[in-house]
Symmetry: C2
Subunit: 201 residues, 2 copies
């Protein structure tokens, strides 16, 4: 696809890889996804910005048949088959105990932990920042040359009990990851025009 975005610093090839030609995958080939690829997705996207560097995103990569069997019953019916065929599935969660890491992540401000003593405020901050990081993560999967299939259609409480018992982590988005079988990719749906989504004041 030819770029017409001449004012961007990012190369047209990278624009295509991350945004224009990347598509949500509904089926996957048998090509494997390596542990090195998964690690490098994290090592890239960990640098994305969060409020006070709070980094609440937690990732569970579901790869084994056993772990897959624990996840599938909690997926929405329309998402179960494609999740079953994905080589790897990432559960993206928000850790509401992120403030326990501030000594490492925000060392110049000893009062950071106390600033998040309130549970409600901390939960909101965890969700907001983990979702920003989920956006970086989806871009990062594509940066690895893989297709991402993000889904919100699942039983969040069921997934929480199954994979996050004993933690303060809340699952937010589930992402199928693999090499796409494009024969199952839907025609691309229209995006809102600049004038529909943006105002310049």
């Amino acid at each position: 696809m030819t770029s017409t975005l001449d004012n961007l610093a990012l190369s047209p090839e990278a624009q295509d890889l991350l945004f224009r030609e990347a598509r949500t995958a509904n089926a996957f080939t048998a090509d494997p996804v390596t542990d090195e690829e998964l690690r490098e997705v994290y090592e890239l996207i960990k640098w994305g910005p969060t409020s006070m560097n709070n980094q609440p995103l937690r990732v569970v990569f579901v790869r084994s048949d056993e772990a897959k069997a624990r996840l599938l019953p909690h997926m929405g019916e329309g998402n179960r088959a494609k999740t079953g065929t994905a080589p790897v599935v990432a559960i993206l969660a928000a850790d509401t105990d992120f403030h326990e890491h501030f000594a490492k992540t925000f060392p110049h401000f000893p009062g950071a932990k106390d600033a998040f003593a309130d549970d409600t405020r901390r939960t909101e901050a965890a969700k907001l920042n983990a979702l920003l990081q989920a956006g970086y993560f989806i871009v990062g999967v594509r940066a690895a040359g893989l297709a991402a299939g993000p889904m919100t259609g699942f039983d969040a409480e069921g997934v929480r009990q199954e994979f996050f018992a004993g933690t303060e982590q809340l699952p937010l988005v589930v992402v199928n990851i693999g090499h796409p079988d494009h024969s199952a990719t839907f025609p691309r749906n229209p995006r809102l025009d600049f004038e529909e989504a943006v105002r310049v004041l």
Copy 2:
């Protein structure tokens, strides 16, 4: 910065531009940000995936002195000075009326609008997906060769009344945009290790 991420399809230069060398800016040079750059950020990131293609992100680019004067009183004290020096400030909001656009954005499923009749469910979906898109937006600002300074320290209700009265749009994140004055950039804070943030099952 040399890349050691050999398994990614994205070039090391693009990895640096979007993640490794990009930094949250606390001050900006006088170099202008053009309207074409702002438009191309949107034209790139609009392709990022959302649930049922619902695209709830709405952007208000605050550029004029008049608009800046309306915004600054609602920013947190620690964010006011740097927001004042940014050539452009983006208010990122979630449109809880996103379902009104489904005839355009999800045309093959006429029941999409009714599936979001419930206000609570719609508000949650709007926030979640707008925050994923906010993650794409921050990457997109960097793709334009600009620095992004995302902030959550502002009076959301005040900003809502000032800029979103008469709409169903909720401001979530404010992002300073410009060419960074690196003399004001803080030393980079540590990120969580792979083992601290990720499990592979």
